[in-house]
């Protein structure tokens, strides 16, 4: 058995610069342009302080310690020391504040981006979430935004700061002694080339390390969660063999990175030695052979120190290309998300109903997730205030879609849906959902407390309301048995509650919001014991009392308790009436009943 994990992140390598993307990035940075300007100035200034050291060394040697034309001057050394210390202090301050401002900008740009994307996602139609896995959305919010932060805090710093340092080194050396500058200019490109080759190799290696590590971890995770299954089926040794294969693949990738470093680091230090040797040889030659006044011991030593200082910026610049590439790929993905079309805006002059009676009317409704494939066709019916209605039909008949369009998760293509005679498209979505509450198929709980799950973030719902809601739906019995009662911690996805308990909590949530119309997706509850099942049914019954309610029924029990049943078949309303009426009619419902519900009885 081969493990199939789909963790290979889409790291398509693309351009390092894309004008279109950069133009879209600019507005995220403009709010911080003053600070950015300041940071850039600091960034350009700091090389001046950093590069003073070798120059001061040259001055000390040529004028004070080892002057050619006059006697040594110990007094001058004191001045040099003071200057040296001043430039050190200046460099320290500049570098710290430059970094602080850049990071400050980076953090705030990331903050804006995260908020922007999160808010954008909140307004996307449900369809988007049906087709995009949550994991990839989280990756957008984390890795891709981080990549943009790298662009700002590393890419930009490297491009401006390192470039300034390099330019400074070259200019100073040319002014100091152009022959020695040429020597440095002969070595530095080699360093750049070697670094670039190395970075490119490392990029591939790092990628394979990441991919392989995530395979190891996914396999590990799966085996830990399924360990009992592995043990029960005596698969320990086969699983170990597979694990060992993944683990040694990962080791292999790591060893390749060790090798790459083992080659690269000695080469770089060798190049350092070569540049020193060449400078000494050329400089020494110049001094011995009196090539000119620029050939002094101080110049020679300073040149070697300057060349040394150019090594790190060159290595950083070699990496900048990777940073830019990653940032472009990430911003492409991020803008892809931001380009997703949001739900159409609410009507400009929305009809606001304070309280509704709860009359619902469908008029020739046509709807499809893709307009060319309608799932509901020409559906018309009216539900009176306070009436309870069940919708039945085979899988794919359009029951769930009917609930979705009534909540305005999707807008219909033809016809009208009216609430108290008002087209719901003329109302604000939030208002529609305030009046029409829904209990959804999978009872989703959020991490937090039980109270938090019942009232969500709605502070209008008091603790007392929460309790009342829980009592109303029979949830209070198990909640009060918990050590912390209503403050009991709910873990992610409500993992610490049974399916039945989760369902009761989601009923309580619906009741706490007290909508005039209630939609219930009543999933056939599996693994719920008879006791809890009875509680759920009782709660359902109470939910429907005195409230317009539409329920998608999977239980015969609920069908028996509603005022009327609507039968959907292939997107059309084919029959309606009470349970008895419909059975008597011996039409589609009768067949459906025999197929879906009577088998329960056959088992008895």
């Amino acid at each position: 058995m081969r493990p199939h994990f789909d963790n290979d992140q889409d790291e398509v390598l693309g351009k390092a610069y894309d004008g279109r993307l950069v133009r879209r990035l600019v507005p995220f940075i403009t709010p911080y342009k003053r600070r950015l300007l300041l940071a850039t100035v600091l960034l350009l200034l700091s090389p001046a302080f950093d590069l003073a050291g070798p120059w001061l060394t040259k001055l000390a040697i040529d004028q004070d310690i080892y002057p050619v034309h006059h006697k040594p001057n110990p007094g001058g050394l004191g001045l040099i020391l003071v200057l040296y210390l001043l430039t050190l202090a200046g460099g320290f301050v500049l570098r710290y504040f430059q970094n602080w401002h850049i990071q400050h900008i980076g953090q705030h740009v990331m903050f804006d981006l995260r908020n922007r994307i999160f808010s954008h996602l909140q307004r996307l139609p449900l369809q988007f979430f049906d087709t995009h896995p949550v994991g990839s959305l989280i990756t957008r919010m984390t890795n891709d935004i981080d990549a943009l932060n790298d662009l700002l805090t590393e890419g930009l710093v490297s491009m401006i700061g390192d470039f300034a340092t390099l330019a400074g080194v070259i200019i100073i050396m040319l002014l100091m002694n152009w022959q020695l500058a040429l020597v440095a200019l002969a070595v530095l490109p080699v360093v750049g080339y070697v670094s670039r080759v190395f970075q490119r190799a490392m990029r591939v290696i790092y990628r394979s390390i990441r991919v392989r590590l995530s395979r190891v971890n996914a396999f590990l995770n799966e085996n830990i969660t399924g360990m009992v299954t592995v043990q029960l089926f005596n698969r320990e040794s086969t699983m170990f063999e597979q694990f060992d294969r993944l683990n040694s693949d990962y080791l292999g990738a790591n060893l390749r990175s060790v090798f790459a470093y083992s080659v690269f680091m000695p080469i770089v230090s060798f190049l350092g030695a070569v540049s020193t040797a060449l400078l000494i040889w050329v400089g020494g030659h110049g001094i011995i052979s009196h090539w000119g006044p620029a050939f002094t011991l101080g110049a020679l030593i300073a040149a070697s120190q300057y060349t040394d200082r150019a090594f790190q910026p060159i290595r950083d610049l070699a990496d900048t290309f990777n940073t830019l590439q990653a940032a472009m790929a990430s911003s492409e993905r991020l803008f892809g998300l931001l380009d997703q079309v949001q739900e159409p805006p609410d009507s400009a002059n929305p009809v606001v109903l304070d309280k509704v009676a709860g009359k619902i009317e469908f008029r020739n409704v046509k709807f499809g997730y893709k307009p060319e494939h309608p799932v509901l066709r020409d559906v018309s019916f009216t539900i009176q205030p306070g009436e309870s209605v069940a919708i039945v039909g085979a899988t794919g008949a359009g029951k769930t879609s009917l609930i979705s369009i009534l909540s305005r998760f999707y807008d219909i293509q033809e016809g009208q849906i009216l609430l108290d005679g008002v087209d719901i498209r003329e109302m604000r979505r939030a208002d529609v959902r305030k009046h029409i509450g829904a209990v959804l198929q999978d009872a989703v709980l959020f991490s937090g407390t039980i109270t938090g799950n019942i009232r969500l973030h709605n502070t209008d719902i008091s603790d007392a309301d929460v309790r009342r809601a829980a009592v109303f739906v029979n949830a209070d019995k198990f909640i009060e048995q918990l050590p912390d009662g209503y403050d009991h911690v709910v873990r992610e996805r409500g993992a610490n509650f049974s399916a039945g308990q989760r369902q009761l909590i989601s009923f309580a949530r619906a009741i706490a919001f007290d909508p005039e119309v209630l939609l219930v997706l009543d999933e056939a509850t599996s693994s719920v014991d008879t006791e809890t099942e009875a509680l759920i049914q009782e709660a359902l019954e109470r939910l429907m009392q005195n409230r317009t309610s539409i329920i998608i029924a999977h239980r015969l029990f609920t069908i028996r308790h509603v005022d009327r049943i609507l039968v959907l078949h292939k997107g059309r309303l084919v029959e309606e009436g009470t349970h008895e009426e419909l059975l008597n009619r011996r039409g589609y419902y009768h067949r459906l009943y025999q197929l879906q519900y009577q088998e329960q009885e056959a088992a008895v």
Partner: protein
């Protein structure tokens, strides 16, 4: 330190590599330390204008540099692999050990916690080994050799270096610790905002249905700005690190230039010597800094190793003992003798005794929490009884080799676990050499066959992590096929068909009857109607066996079982009545 001694055996395994690496390191250190000397000599040679001398020393520099590059390459390839190799071995050892640990361990320990130990902790240990091995040894060698050379050049300058340079180590240690603490806060907050986003996206239907979008955005924004605040508080410190390093090194250089310059002027030091000394300063910087890092990592490495050892040294509670009896084949007689199981201080049940004859079917019925799953887990020794005995074929399960015992059992658990592999691989998971014939038979009995058209690649369809691409019923039927495929003497069905619709369930039971006839079956279900044809029904209630007998016997006894059955019938009877009424 206590924890780190467990690394001994791993290190010993690579002793020859480590020794070779250290020797290479010594040579390479020697070759790098000699270069500044040649530089100094070259500069001093300029006093006597002879190109020959100059070229000679420059040649020496290059020669030493080439040799050093070579030895440094060899040393790195020898030594830097060690930490990766040990990481690999540790990870494998952990995995093997985890396989020997029992279910209870996994119930106590969260998956996330275990994963953290095998990922973060393991990598902290690896970093410590890597740092400790290379950097500590390198630092040590450098410090000893360079210090001696420095002192011989000028003890005054050496004193400056020894006073100033250690500030790099100190600031790494001091700053590093605070940074680590702040960074942990950053990571925690990062975890919180990811979870918040994740929960929001997964629960978007609820968010929208309750019109909570704006409030969610506000809550997210709040967590987001806290994240920024923590990040900036980290940056405020971390931004100090490199400027401080540069400041300290620059200070040392400046002071050496000043004092050394005076020494050159008064003749106690050559200019070449001063340059040589400056180069040594540069050589010491990185070892000093990395010493600080290693000191910080030591604590973390030791703590991480401790957490890994906790896993590695956990004794498997369920394993073959020295007293195992060889058992060729299991016919499938099961006997519970006064069995009791407790979780912590609470007994789930006690004094449970009954016998299941080979080839018969026994159902276990009871409310949620009565201990049905617990009881069935005792047979394949997923769990062990705290008192009493469970016997298979008359032998205490603790004396049957685990491998033999489990091979005899086909287990379909309540929450079945599928692997991210193809359907075929999942069904034939428990068989060493799967035959197509057996595979198709299992697929057919479990009624999985008719679903296959739905899948693009039939049996070769990948089911996704934990079988996400399958419906609940399909998952259960795959798990069922997996158990049937093993052709076990004992079949355990633990509420195995809860998500299967009643119609299919009936067909599966019909298909199973052929299979069950030859084997012992233990079954539980939420609904009595599923299991009422069992040869024997055991009712668990209130910490023990309340009733035992066949369906009819138990109904006649008119006890708990009869009450439960009536209750279950109530709603269905009502509906039947009504249906018949209408149809009549």
């Amino acid at each position: 330190m206590q924890n780190l001694k467990y690394l001994g055996p791993y290190l010993k395994q690579h002793a020859s590599r480590i020794v070779a690496g250290l020797i290479l390191m010594a040579v390479s250190t020697g070759l790098s330390v000699i270069q500044p000397r040649f530089v100094g000599d070259a500069i001093n040679s300029l006093r006597h204008p002879s190109l020959g001398h100059l070229t000679f020393y420059v040649g020496l520099i290059l020669a030493a540099a080439i040799l050093q590059a070579l030895f440094s390459f060899l040393q790195r390839s020898a030594l830097n692999r060690v930490s990766r190799l040990i990481e690999y071995e540790l990870r494998n050892d952990c995995f093997t050990h985890l396989q020997s640990l029992e279910q209870r361990f996994y119930q106590e320990m969260h998956t996330g916690d275990l994963m953290a130990r095998l990922t973060n902790d393991l990598s902290a240990v690896r970093q410590f080994i890597g740092m400790g091995l290379t950097n500590m040894c390198m630092t040590f060698m450098m410090l000893v050799v360079v210090s001696v050379l420095m002192v011989t050049l000028s003890w005054k300058l050496a004193l400056i270096a020894f006073i100033v340079l250690p500030f790099t180590t100190v600031s790494v240690v001091v700053l590093g610790r605070v940074m680590q603490r702040r960074f942990r806060l950053v990571q925690d907050q990062f975890g919180r905002i990811s979870t918040q986003a994740q929960e929001n996206f997964s629960g978007i239907r609820v968010i929208k249905a309750f019109a909570q979008e704006d409030r969610e955005i506000a809550a997210f924004s709040k967590a987001n700005s806290e994240y920024v605040r923590l990040n900036l508080s980290y940056v405020r410190l971390s931004g100090l690190m490199w400027p401080i390093m540069r400041l300290v090194v620059g200070l040392a250089l400046a002071l050496v230039l000043f004092v050394g310059g005076l020494q050159v002027i008064n003749g106690s030091l050559s200019l070449g010597g001063l340059v040589q000394f400056t180069l040594y300063l540069g050589m010491l910087t990185w070892p000093m800094v990395s010493l600080g890092y290693t000191i910080n990592q030591y604590q973390q490495g030791a703590a991480s190793m401790g957490r890994i050892i906790e896993v590695l040294h956990r004794n498997p509670a369920i394993a073959d003992s020295g007293r195992t009896l060889p058992l060729e084949e299991v016919t499938g007689k099961i006997e519970f003798r006064n069995v009791g199981v407790r979780y912590d201080d609470r007994w789930v049940f006690r004094n449970v005794s009954f016998t299941v004859e080979p080839g018969s079917t026994t159902a276990i019925i009871g409310m949620t929490g009565a201990g049905k799953t617990t009881l069935m887990s005792l047979v394949p020794r997923i769990l062990e009884a705290d008192e009493g005995q469970v016997l298979v074929d008359g032998v205490d399960v603790r004396r049957i080799p685990l491998d033999t015992l489990r091979r005899a059992v086909g287990h379909v658990p309540q929450d079945n676990f599928l692997f991210s592999a193809t359907l075929r691989e999942n069904v034939s998971f428990g068989v060493d050499h799967p035959s197509d014939e057996a595979l198709w038979q299992a697929v057919e009995i479990s009624q999985l066959g008719r679903d296959l058209e739905q899948f693009s690649n039939g049996l070769d369809t990948v089911v996704g992590e934990r079988g996400v691409s399958l419906s609940g019923g399909q998952k259960q039927r795959t798990a069922l096929a997996r158990a049937i495929m093993r052709n076990p003497s004992i079949l355990i069905l633990d509420d195995a068909m809860s998500s299967v619709d009643t119609h299919t369930q009936a067909e599966i039971l019909r298909g199973l009857q052929g299979v069950m006839a030859h084997r012992t079956t233990l079954i539980t279900a939420m609904r009595i109607s599923t299991i009422k044809n069992a040869d024997q029904i055991v009712v668990l209630h209130d910490g023990g066996v309340a009733e035992i007998g066949s369906h009819q016997e138990l109904l006649n006894a008119d006890g708990l079982y009869a009450k439960m059955y009536r209750r279950e019938l109530l709603q269905q009877e009502l509906e039947v009545e009504e249906g018949e009424e209408v149809e009549a």
